[in-house]
Symmetry: C2
Subunit: 286 residues, 2 copies
């Protein structure tokens, strides 16, 4: 099953055994004080720079989130999306808990957008699925619902099955959904990594859908987080995640290393190219 996203003129295909697609997560004020302050002042200068830097580091889809405290996302999200797509010809992943902001961004975005996100909560399904259907978009679906995040892979699969059924009732096909198995902190639950990987395998086997995942939650509170993130990304991609949400400036080369070791990168062309871009970045920093 292949999921196709589009930028102004560029097309990205997500599918099993294809090279892994990195959704660049950097345009997001969470944990970024300066960027938050800029957004609060309506200053979007950093958005274009972050888009360019992530594209140079190998991102093939760009997540756009402007959700800092006090920001009017309905006004700002579409502006940020326009800046991203004026800078770089890539599909965007519009990221907001506010359905009005999603609607405003969908109106201006070019190509086929990825919506971040829906989940199995009744209200969320009602608010987001009609928008996804109206704009012919794709959507990220988190494996949680009104009862929270299920503990077992089987229960997360059941949530995914329900979301798929609801989506199909809106005319949204299975190939338009990227499921997120959800990765919790291994420091709190030592089976968290296994549960995410097993959920991924179940969804891939039973629903055939493509998957996204963030790998950085799992290492929360642990030392050497980059190493842990590399290991978990490797396990998740091996299990079937093919469009992780990640910071390509940090994890881009690791994703290409996984593809190389999984036989998806003949002659190591993508790996070496990404290595050279990283080395050039580091040389430029001095």
């Amino acid at each position: 099953m292949e999921t196709i996203l589009r930028g102004p003129s560029n097309e990205v295909t997500i599918g099993p055994d294809l090279p892994t697609v990195i959704i660049g997560e950097r345009i997001n004020p969470t944990g970024r004080k300066v960027f938050s302050a800029e957004l609060q002042a309506g200053n979007l200068e950093r958005v274009g720079r972050d888009a360019q830097a992530q594209a140079d580091a190998g991102a093939m889809v760009l997540d756009v989130n402007v959700g800092a405290a006090g920001v009017d996302e309905v006004a700002l999200l579409p502006r940020a999306v326009q800046i991203v797509q004026d800078t770089i010809d890539l599909p965007v992943c519009i990221d907001s808990p506010n359905p009005d902001a999603l609607a405003a961004a969908l109106k201006v975005a070019k190509g086929r957008v990825l919506v971040n996100s829906v989940n199995g909560e009744t209200e969320k399904l009602k608010a987001v699925l009609p928008l996804v259907a109206e704009y012919g978009a794709a959507v990220i679906a988190l494996c949680m619902d009104d009862h929270g995040i299920p503990e077992t892979p089987e229960a997360r699969l059941a949530v995914a099955e329900n979301i798929l059924k609801q989506a199909q009732a809106h005319g949204i096909a299975a190939d338009s959904i990227l499921f997120d198995p959800l990765t919790l902190a291994v420091g709190a639950d030592h089976r968290a990594g296994v549960t995410a990987c097993e959920t991924t395998r179940l969804i891939r086997a039973k629903l055939g859908c493509n998957l996204t995942a963030g790998a950085s939650n799992a290492s929360h509170g642990m030392p050497e987080r980059e190493l842990l993130n590399t290991v978990l990304l490797t396990l998740l991609i091996q299990a079937g995640v093919n469009a992780p949400i990640s910071n390509p400036l940090v994890n881009g080369l690791a994703v290409r290393a996984v593809d190389l070791m999984l036989g998806r990168d003949e002659w190591g062309m993508s790996y070496i190219q990404t290595y050279r871009a990283k080395a050039a970045r580091e040389a430029a920093k001095g």
Copy 2:
């Protein structure tokens, strides 16, 4: 199936879902000019230091190889083994292509030894299996034979099956063999990582045996080899390798990271302990 190795008084168990056992590879002159020269002069001072350093970094079995050009391994290998076991209470993995050197080392080693290695070559089987049987040792078996290294996982499994049959004819049980799927360079064959992992899965599924592997060959000629080795180690351990041969001073924390993400390290105790030992080492270096 569990493989048990023993040091002078210590016991190490290798088995599915148990914590991954690192076989420390550092006591080996390959690529080490100073150590080679010392061995040629009969100087074994470094052997005890390397044993201690690897044990501190998390090795649970210590490979001992003294095969520098011009060295009399029959005389030197048993001496090196004694130094290792006088320094550290761990099982040894005696490593030589010379059956007489293996025999001499088996005579002096305490506990239950791992022999490195046999393979499917007729002469090799004839020379090594009787020694393994005589001393009740365990043995590493490489998936290659008189025809070289087979290309496909299925053909490597066939070699493993033949080795197992020959071993059993000598009274050596399946739980006394650690198969090595063999990892070639991805730069020469972009499927090399996949072939090693698939061979691992097949041997685990069909023979139930435990497995070792070296992960560093695969990255030959590529930049950022440590990242590639981490990724391949992750994939190999996930596939079923449970006693990789590795340098714990470089890859020890990565192996513990894999166990943590595979749910084999409650509270991350081993991971954090290994991290602290590594941080202390780096602080001591200044």
